[in-house]
């Protein structure tokens, strides 16, 4: 009985995302059928493309790395009740500053490495703090200002690598910085595989974040502000301070996402390398999907990355375009906060019972 209740408790927060995932996959099936391919065959190819062998698995984890970090940063903001939509700009500024620090800070590899991480974190954090400050001081809607600041940051980073810091060594004038020195590269976890040290950093970050939220008083303040701002203020929590704090760290972690991507896989800042794959927005979806639970965010990030790498494999082997992944993701998020009617819940709860007794 006790065990049953425990399992039910464990499953309850999962019901909502599960329904959303099911609707998402159904929509995907519909799209596949429209293109005229076999539904199960295509999903099988997709699964193989994401987890089929060790190489694909590590490719999925490599793709998940920046997504996990962005997701964690956003989860922190969401937990404090702050709708930070600016992860893309924060990540891109972090990435370009990290690349520039790795290139131009004098000293040995380890000094360059630390200054790159520092620059990435601070750049993302300050950019995010700007929006937080505008909200606290001038009541400029954070939800929208962060969105608009994305465009400014991406354009500014584009300017930096197209004009003053452009790589002039190659014959083609691409919008990118020169390559950073090999001593600053984050090591790969397995020889020949794309997953790098950044993945370990991301997973450790998720655990640290979980401990911070659950077991520290600052974490409690953040959670309380998100749950009930009036009660938090009544209880003596300085809500402006917590908001600025969470915005700074939220942006900083997004900056780190850009940093590890530069140091671990691109080895330079290339315009569009972070924005075209939509890491920031996938990270946002991961955080929403997991209801801003740090460990859940990491798992959701890996699943969403798998959906994308799987879609790439699918495009190689079938006629279905890989954009199907974005369709599935969109539907998933559309219904993840939906409250399905009572009858839905009851049916689902019974299913939970069966699981409990078996």
């Amino acid at each position: 009985m006790n065990l049953q209740r425990k399992i039910q408790q464990l499953l309850k927060p999962l019901i909502q995302p599960m329904i959303a995932v099911m609707i998402g996959l159904l929509t995907g099936a519909l799209a596949i059928a429209l293109v005229g391919e076999s539904i199960f065959g295509t999903y099988k190819v997709m699964w193989d493309g994401a987890f089929g062998n060790f190489y694909f698995l590590t490719a999925t984890l490599a793709r998940a790395t920046p997504i996990i970090l962005v997701g964690l940063g956003l989860a922190l903001a969401f937990r404090a009740g702050v709708f930070n939509m600016g992860a893309e700009g924060q990540m891109v500024l972090g990435a370009v500053c990290a690349a520039l620090a790795a290139l131009y800070v004098p000293g040995s590899g380890i000094v360059k490495l630390f200054s790159a991480f520092f620059a990435g974190f601070i750049a993302g954090g300050l950019w995010s703090l700007l929006a937080g400050w505008m909200e606290v001081k001038y009541k400029v809607q954070l939800l929208i200002s962060t969105l608009l600041l994305n465009y400014v940051a991406v354009l500014f980073a584009g300017y930096l690598v197209a004009e003053p810091f452009q790589d002039k060594s190659g014959s083609a004038a691409l919008a990118q910085t020169p390559m950073i020195d090999q001593s600053v590269w984050l090591p790969k976890l397995f020889a020949g595989m794309s997953v790098h040290m950044g993945f370990v950093i991301a997973v450790v970050g998720a655990v640290i974040f979980y401990v911070f939220l659950q077991f520290t008083s600052s974490g409690y303040e953040v959670r309380m502000l998100g749950k009930n701002p009036f009660f938090a203020e009544y209880g003596g929590i300085n809500k402006h301070k917590v908001l600025l704090f969470s915005m700074f760290f939220s942006g900083g972690i997004a900056g780190l996402a850009g940093t590890v991507e530069v140091l671990g896989s691109q080895y330079r800042y290339v315009e569009g390398a972070l924005t075209v794959p939509g890491y920031a927005w996938t990270g946002l979806m991961a955080a929403l999907l997991a209801n801003s639970n740090p460990l859940g965010t990491a798992v959701a990030a890996i699943l969403l990355a798998a959906l994308q790498t799987g879609a790439m494999g699918m495009e190689r082997n079938t006629e279905v375009p890989l954009e199907i992944a974005s369709v599935i993701q969109g539907v998933l998020i559309l219904f993840v906060t939906a409250k399905f009617t009572l009858s839905w819940w009851k049916v689902k709860k019974k299913a939970g019972d069966v699981n409990g007794t078996v």
């Binding site: 709708f83 400029v140 200002s145 608009l148 354009l155 908001l243």
Partner: protein
């Protein structure tokens, strides 16, 4: 090259219409208590379905209708999620933006077998209307002359919406729902019907905005061609206090910035900085917003307030 001249203001008026139409749609939603962050997606849906309609029928009228229909279809999905399933409107709105971005790129591949952008020389853009009388008015005539019908329609829609909201019974009911949903419901108003109506109407307006975007100036569709216009429209709506006449003013400001950012490219400035202009001005405009724009429950989900 001059920075300010007639053609700058004329192109500002052309650029303003997508923003104005979408902002009016957003205002309708805000007036029934739903903060519609999905404007961007609704516009994109309109832009894409207008191109599809145009490609298959070759008729501009059909294209305008399919454009509006595309917007309605997506807005119904948004309404279903937020009203029927009580999803968080902000999350649902963001999801709509992603979903439409995905659907349109998927559609580009599945229908036209292209990536990035679709263009076909046989497609017809919106015609330019030379209204007979307006041409003769000094100064203003030059600005208002020779635009696409949707540009005139945008301004007409704003005036119509003003009359509808503030001079008709249904309009008052809509305002009541936005002011206090529970009270409106207790008076026996059909809140859900009014909300669906407002969302569908905003779908039509955003669909038309998208049509103007893909068929007005250029006759093509590019991935994510809205480029943040939905959010700029959202700010225009807030700046105009969700009031149609106020929105005309604020949209004109952003339309002018849009036109300026293109004009400035002719000067020796890095394109990245000129492209930033509309976003920077929008952020600055928000400093003057303070608590305006968002009505009661619409701000319930608001960040820190």
């Amino acid at each position: 090259m001059e920075l300010f001249d007639y053609s700058l203001f004329a192109s500002a008026i052309r650029m303003v219409s997508p923003i104005l139409l979408a902002a009016l749609g957003g205002a309708l939603c805000a007036r029934v208590g739903i903060f519609n962050v999905g404007l961007e997606g609704l516009i994109l849906a309109g832009a894409f379905s207008a191109i599809v309609g145009n490609y298959y029928s070759g008729s501009v009228i059909v294209a305008v209708l399919t454009g509006a229909f595309g917007g309605v279809l997506v807005s119904l999905l948004f309404g279903l999620a937020t009203i029927k399933f009580k999803a968080n409107p902000i999350v649902a709105g963001i999801a709509i933006n992603f979903l439409v971005l995905g659907l349109t790129t998927f559609g580009l591949r599945a229908i036209f077998q292209v990536k990035g952008a679709f263009y076909d020389k046989d497609m017809n853009g919106l015609p330019k209307w030379d209204l007979p009388l307006i041409e003769n008015i000094p100064v203003i005539g030059k600005l208002l002359y020779g635009h696409s019908p949707l540009v005139y329609m945008a301004f007409f829609a704003a005036i119509l919406l003003y009359i509808f909201l503030f001079k008709t019974v249904v309009g008052f009911r809509i305002l009541a729902v936005g002011k206090n949903e529970a009270a409106a419901r207790s008076l026996g108003l059909k809140v859900t019907v009014l909300q669906y109506g407002a969302i569908v109407a905003s779908g039509v307006l955003c669909g038309l905005a998208g049509t103007q975007l893909s068929l007005g100036q250029v006759t093509m569709f590019t991935e994510g061609m809205t480029a943040g216009r939905g959010f700029i429209a959202l700010v225009a709506m807030m700046l105009g206090g969700s009031h149609p006449i106020g929105i005309i003013g604020s949209s004109l400001l952003f339309g002018l910035m849009d036109a300026m950012s293109i004009r400035l490219q002719g000067f020796s400035m890095p394109t990245q900085f000129t492209a930033m202009l509309p976003y920077v001005i929008t952020i600055i405009a928000m400093f003057f917003l303070k608590d305006r724009g968002l009505e009661s429950q619409a701000s319930g989900q608001q960040s820190s307030r």
